[in-house]
Symmetry: C2
Subunit: 153 residues, 2 copies
Amino acid sequence: MPAGTNDIDERLDAFVAACRQHGVKATHQRREIYRELARTVEHPDVQTVYRRVRRRVPSVSLDTVYRTLRLLDDKGIVCRVACQDACARFDAATERHPHFSCVKCGALLDVCSDELNALPVPASATALGTVTSVHVVFQGVCVACRNGRQRGR
Amino acid sequence: MPAGTNDIDERLDAFVAACRQHGVKATHQRREIYRELARTVEHPDVQTVYRRVRRRVPSVSLDTVYRTLRLLDDKGIVCRVACQDACARFDAATERHPHFSCVKCGALLDVCSDELNALPVPASATALGTVTSVHVVFQGVCVACRNGRQRGR
DNA sequence: ACTATATTGAGATATGTTCTTAGTTAGTAA
DNA sequence: TTACTAACTAAGAACATATCTCAATATAGT
């Protein structure tokens, strides 16, 4: 979900509040890591977040980015998006929504579908256990790649 | 999907045919790797397949299991299942079907839901690109873990 | 402002996966 | 059956992702 500057500030305030609520410190690094996630729709992986945060906080360590994203995922403040490649990718939007994953360029895009989001979990799934989250990924070739344009991550 | 012995033989025949069709050799190792995948519903990872295949083919190398599973995934003969942990897991059933993933023990279970399988891809997804596959994963705690029983991979 | 303690940075380490080379085996098509 | 060649094994190296250890530091509550 795109977000204007004001929006980001609001979300950062909410983030700090969420940290307090969970009893974890809202450190400078964590705020910057969250900001990078909240300000993009790309669902960047850890390395990408690291590279970007380093522009603002040159001393930040890769490990801190790993630790922070894992922590925030555990607390439910951000969420990890399942994708086919090896690396974990993250989303600041924790509300359930499907994704589109391009097998060519690796782009991971948000899909808006109230219909799908409202879809109840089938009994055949709840019979297997307690469902806490639902992940829907459409895989294929994105419009940009289909049109021949190549783009990196 | 579970499979009896006869079923396995049939699927192995189909596997050999699929190899021919794709111009790759249906070697002894590849057949045994496929057999291990077809005979279980656990969606094992590479290491697990390797351990099991070695019982029948002691000389098989880990690298061959990696290479074979990647090749078969590329050809669409098996499919890689997205899961939260680092390692790739595989499924001999290539027909679209949802999975249940247990966050505690890592179990990856098949969900049977004709309803979900029949669900059309929403226009908001096809607008982003050409969809070639749909992955639905319900995440949560499986019945066994909920009941306190622990089980390894 | 002070202090207890959660958090960080840096480097080491673990794990999963792929590649390289060279010599050997075994499918496939004729 | 034979020959061509893809595929295999072995062993090592390389690479990427992710986690750990521990001393130094910054944050939150008083």
